[in-house]
């Protein structure tokens, strides 16, 4: 199978190739359709979401009376225009929970419950706008801190000779697979004693602790693979560890740091369990808001799909813009084997 494209084509291979092609397309379609469904739905009006399938979105005449274009003789494009809306996104961002939509309510002059029809609504604690900011506030320090600390540790483990070096690293390798669940209760109790529950530093510290083993492991493997001549000549020129670390190591490990940063960023951004336990509803992040909408509030699909897509926006951008680094960061741990 592997060499299909490398073999001269004859009847038999053309047939296998066709089957393989169908297989590939089939898998790709299965992989894409769920996400496309979400994206299309998030732009459709509530009335249509609940009465027609998203795959009929281009049919401009189905659905209930209320969803029809007022002028039955309007052109296809005009009709299509009323079949899509950004209301779901506005409602999700502002945390609107009324019966119409945020924009309609504000236009007609009735202020929606708990909202003021101004830019401040983006900070409504129930909305995804606020949750987005909370997610950023959680993620950025939780990405920078472990990498910073790991850089020093990785340097010591790769370029300093001392007793116990090997043991420390072996422990690190083991710690990488410890499940978060194993530490939740004691840390929660500890944070409660310190009054840290429901605050950002609680999550920063926890993510730093759990990010460290992998971060050190990855950086140490990168650093110890650097040619040692580099260090020897610098050392002979009188440079100390600190100078070498700053002027040689840091610039040379930048690609690995980038991979690690993306990996850790997405890991924290997408996390639910840690935010659920340590922040809960006091500083809701995006994943928390969505899981809440799914499980307890029973929010409609229009809000849910828009909210879910909002939470996926940043990871998607990071993924498509920096795919190479991301894949590398993901794989570095396992690929060594």
């Amino acid at each position: 199978m592997i060499s299909l494209t490398r073999t001269k084509s004859n009847g038999k291979y053309d047939f296998t190739r066709l089957l393989t092609g169908i297989g590939i397309v089939l898998i790709l379609v299965v992989w894409l359709i769920p996400t496309i469904g979400l994206l299309v739905t998030s732009f459709r009006p509530v009335a249509l979401i609940n009465t027609t399938g998203w795959w009929t979105a281009l049919n401009v005449n189905n659905g209930p009376e209320s969803a029809q274009h007022p002028d039955p003789n309007a052109s296809y494009v005009e009709k299509l225009g009323t079949r899509f809306t950004i209301n779901n996104y506005v409602d999700a961002l502002t945390g609107y929970r009324g019966t119409k939509s945020y924009l309609e309510d504000c236009k007609s002059g009735t202020k929606p419950l708990g909202l003021s029809c101004s830019i401040k609504d983006l900070l409504n604690p129930r909305g995804m706008g606020r949750a987005f900011l909370n997610s950023v506030a959680v993620t950025v320090p939780s990405t920078i801190l472990p990498i910073l600390i790991a850089l020093f540790a990785a340097y010591a483990l790769s370029w300093m000779k001392f007793r116990g070096r090997y043991a420390v690293f072996a422990i690190l390798v083991g710690l990488q697979v410890v499940p978060i669940q194993m530490t939740l209760v004691p840390v929660l109790r500890m944070f409660a004693g310190m009054g840290l529950n429901g605050t950002f530093p609680a999550v920063w510290l926890f993510h730093t602790g759990f990010g460290l083993p992998y971060a050190i492991y990855l950086l140490r493997n990168t650093m110890s693979a650097l040619p040692k001549d580099l260090f020897e000549s610098a050392y002979l020129d009188g440079a100390d560890h600190w100078t070498i670390f700053k002027t040689i190591i840091l610039p040379l490990t930048t690609p690995a740091i980038a991979s690690l940063a993306i990996y850790q960023f997405l890991w924290v951004w997408n996390d639910l369990l840690v935010s659920l336990v340590f922040l809960g509803g006091s500083k809701p992040v995006m994943t928390y808001q969505i899981s809440n909408m799914v499980t307890s509030l029973g929010a409609g699909w229009h809000l849910l799909t828009a909210a879910a897509f909002l939470s996926m926006l940043l990871p998607m951008i990071v993924f498509f813009a920096l795919q190479r680094y991301f894949v590398r960061g993901m794989m570095a741990g396992a690929v060594k084997g």
């Binding site: 790991a150 020093f152 410890v178 020897e232």
Partner: protein
């Protein structure tokens, strides 16, 4: 012991390395090592950790003394009234579900990942095809949960807005409540897991396949091997070490799994796994003793993999 990766000329005072390591060691001790030990201790205590677990035993009920939380964690979901009831209740308990998840998700991701990696190897749009499969890796389990909940959506008798039920209806079938129908629901959740993690397996396996020297494949072709023989007798055996690494990574991931189940069913309708059960004990019931006992059982499953990881690492170091 220490390998010659360290330049012999680099010397420092004995405390300097520990200075570089100190912040990392402190944080990992406080947030991983100490809590792990503490968790084991709490698992032998009652709900709030104030007394031994023994006090929760009830008159006339089976009691395991200090191990009472473990008795609860292991047997609470089981119905022991008859062998058949035991068998049935086991397969919707968190342990039975764990077995389903392990078998379904690990084999699903590895097999689809492997086949896809071989299929797209060398085709024109290989990079694009791979990034489509890998993309779900970038989004959260929560996002994936919403995406698939919509796919599985169970509509009204008039209209199906979930694509799966719409397809079933179009062929004249009865719509299915995928997420509440036991035992179908756990398999529907496993599909979501496969959708998310196949890209990970595929990327690793694809890299391994590409590292097989071209001559090996060509030589076997000249000897008359068919496509399938090349795949099963040459490629798979050569990349076996990578396949094993992928399988162990996936096993660990599955054991820790929480979000998919939490978001899609909340562990209801017989879909609980260890992690969701632990969360329920901790938060909904405030039973710290029982919650930590479940956590300890979880890590007991993972310990073999920790040992394996360290062994593999030591072998690698020896080869440096």
């Amino acid at each position: 012991m220490a390998k010659p990766t360290v330049a012999p000329v680099m010397r420092q005072k004995p405390f300097v390395p520990w200075l570089y390591l100190l912040p990392a060691i402190i944080i990992m001790t406080v947030f991983i090592l100490y809590p792990m030990i503490n968790t084991v201790g709490l698992s032998f205590k009652n709900a709030d950790g104030s007394a031994s677990a023994e006090v929760t035993c009830r008159e006339g009920q089976p009691c395991w003394g200090s191990f009472e939380n473990y008795r609860y964690a292991l047997s609470n979901e089981l119905n022991t009234s008859s062998p058949k009831a035991l068998w049935d209740s086991f397969w919707i308990s968190s342990y039975g579900n764990m077995i389903k998840w392990l078998l379904g998700m690990v084999s699903g991701t590895v097999i689809i990942g492997l086949i896809f990696a071989v299929w797209v190897d060398g085709i024109k749009s290989e990079a694009l095809a791979k990034s489509i499969i890998f993309m779900p890796m970038a989004i959260s389990f929560v996002g994936a949960g919403v995406i698939w909940k919509f796919v599985y959506n169970y509509g009204t008798s008039q209209v199906q807005t979930g694509i799966l039920n719409a397809i079933i209806s179009a062929f004249g079938g009865e719509p299915v409540a995928f997420l509440s129908k036991v035992p179908l629901n756990t398999f529907m959740l496993i599909i979501v897991g496969i959708w998310m993690w196949t890209g990970f397996c595929m990327t690793l396996l694809s890299a391994a396949i590409k590292s097989i020297p071209e001559e090996v494949i060509e030589a076997s072709r000249i000897d008359g091997a068919t496509d399938f023989e090349v795949f099963s007798k040459i490629q798979v055996p050569i990349i076996m070490p990578t396949i094993i690494v992928v399988i162990t990574t996936m096993v660990i991931n599955v054991l820790k799994l929480f979000d998919i189940v939490y978001v899609m069913t909340g562990g209801n309708f017989g879909t609980n796994v260890l992690a969701t059960r632990m969360y329920t004990e901790m938060y909904t019931n405030s039973q710290y003793g029982r919650g930590t006992a479940i956590a300890v059982i979880l890590i007991l499953f993972i310990v073999p993999f920790i040992v394996m990881n360290i062994r593999r690492f030591m072998k690698e170091e020896a080869m440096r």
